[in-house]
Amino acid sequence: MTVESTAARGTTRSSGKRTAAKTPAKKAPAKRKAAQPTAPAAPAQPELVQLLTPEGERVEHPDYAIDLSPDELRGLYRDMVLTRRFDAEATSLQRQGELGLWASLLGQEAAQIGSGRALRDDDYVFPTYREHGVAWCRGVDPANLLGMFRGVNNGGWDPNSNNFHLYTIVIGSQTLHATGYAMGVSKDGADSAVVAYFGDGASSQGDVAEAFTFAAVYNAPVVFFCQNNQWAISEPTEKQSRVPIYQRAAGYGFPGVRVDGNDVLAVLAVTRAALEHARSGQGPMLVEAFTYRMGAHTTSDDPTRYRTDGERAAWEAKDPIQRLRAYLEAEGLADEAFFAGLEEESEELGRGVREKIRTMPDPDTMAIFENAYADGHALIDEERAQFAEYLASFADDPADSAAERGN
């Protein structure tokens, strides 16, 4: 067993000191095994694909290889740093009252950048509401992501301009949209692939089960990318599943693989393989990126009520950005000037986002009535006209009108 095993996590959390077991099982001390007899019907040992250890050492995997240029490696590092910076800025903006809510991706940068950078332009992404790193890879303006959290719209970007669908808040719904879209890709004879992002909590949703079924039956070119960040608000993964999530794919007849979600190289390699699997007509594949939500579920959440500092510390030692930096430095692939330049770029990004949010105008009142229907609707037309007339009735003499209303 590894400490990453879903079934083992109960014991892991109780001690809060399992930091040593951050590599796959083979390296875990033997006494570990004795410490985990509580899990009934323990699943087969999950094989965690890893290409970069938490200490930043390159390791090989028999099934997944990757060979990246120094530029590409630095690019991945830059993506993760900027994504984290943007995320931190958004959290600050929420604290300052500029956003109503923020769902931080802190800790999941490798899972998102690794998968996002595996995509081709013609691939299509169906995100949850936390895929800020994937959005970054798709070229979505970070400020666009903030509109819904500020409350000026419910998304609002054009999904087709970056092949990045709107954030979906209802858990798991988008996996069916992704599957349907992928069925359409097949009908069109295209060789694009579709990625459905979802989480460990969503894996319990019926829609996800139905998406797996439809994708399998129609051999749809969709990659189900599950970021298992260990927590669905306050519920740990063992409240969602008795087996490691990636193993569920077998029951539907397609492959599943668990990858170290804090290892950007492994995520990139595994997602590339899964996309190729889909593109080449072999149908769906499930990728479980084993990662950790370092922050709260959202800015409204208080994780101290349900998890220990020790657990967080254990995962901090597996930080996705630190490990790539360690590798870049050890191999001499990036110098001080690179890191300093990136620091400056990060601050610039933060400043730009802050400026855009603070000057983001509220929508016009009459926007309430816009876009409910594509072809119009008589009732909305009537209500719009009545409401406009009502608002106009205050225009002449605001003081009198307010008095009439009893204000």
């Binding site: 209802v170 996996t175 139905e210 998406a211 609707h377």
Partner: protein, 330 residues
Amino acid sequence: MAAAKSSGQLPIAKAINESLRSALEADPKVLVMGEDVGKLGGVFRVTDGLQKDFGEDRVIDTPLAESGIIGTAIGLALRGYRPVAEIQFDGFVFPAYDQIVTQLAKMHARALGKVRLPVVIRIPYGGGIGAVEHHSESPEALFAHVAGLKCVSPSNASDAYWMMRQAIESDDPVIFFEPKRRYWDKAAVDTSAIPAPLHRARVAREGGDLTLAAYGPMVKTCLEAAAAAEEEGRSLEVVDLRSISPIDFDTVQRSVEKTGRLVIVHEAPVFLGAGAEIAARITERSFYHLEAPVLRVGGFHAPYPPARLEEEYLPGLDRVLDAVDRALAY
């Protein structure tokens, strides 16, 4: 193809079949999908022969999962297709209710108009066929209440043909309620006619004493009631609403301002049903024209009863005429 250009008498089920066929022929993006719609042709044979002629790629037998049907239809629509999804029976739509309400209805607005969801959901609905539980319900108000959806229900074969074509051409999601107990009722269908707008009501019978407003399966009941009333010297106007979202209040208003009395009839429970909304609107619009309170005839606030009781539960000729008597007594 079998469709005669100016076909003779067709039952509603066949009219919808011809409509789907013509839509599949006219636009390669149109898809038909649902449980048993392919080889079997649907449990009511509405899609009979379509898979044979258009192939499994366009007439798709789906897994038995309603949320999956609608969720993948949404994805297909996002890819540029125009899916016509069948929910086999009214009472089985609820696993898909989440996808319909939270996704299908709202996605166009969520995208600030940048995506369109031309999805039609066909639902055979209503009672009167002696079925087991979950096969006789009228849930249209649950959908009409949701902004972003449009809801229609034809009462005759000609409307069934044309309204289906128009629903498929609509860029908005349309829930198409098919009056299953009228599937076999025949009427002339002119497939070369110019149809009325999808959401416009139609005066199905002219009269001067009272307006009956109905849609779907109850239009026939109301026409029969009007014929019976005529023998008693009463002249009833019947308005076939055809659309439940939006509702063509103008046509109802015109009729009521002529007759002064309104009775609304539907199979769905009266409480918070379409009739309640029509009563409120017409009272507001035509208060000084009304000679009597607006009355409603419909289902009770009880689960749809077992088949042996459905004749008592469903509004029939006598219950409609009872309401007419009460309205005329004012």
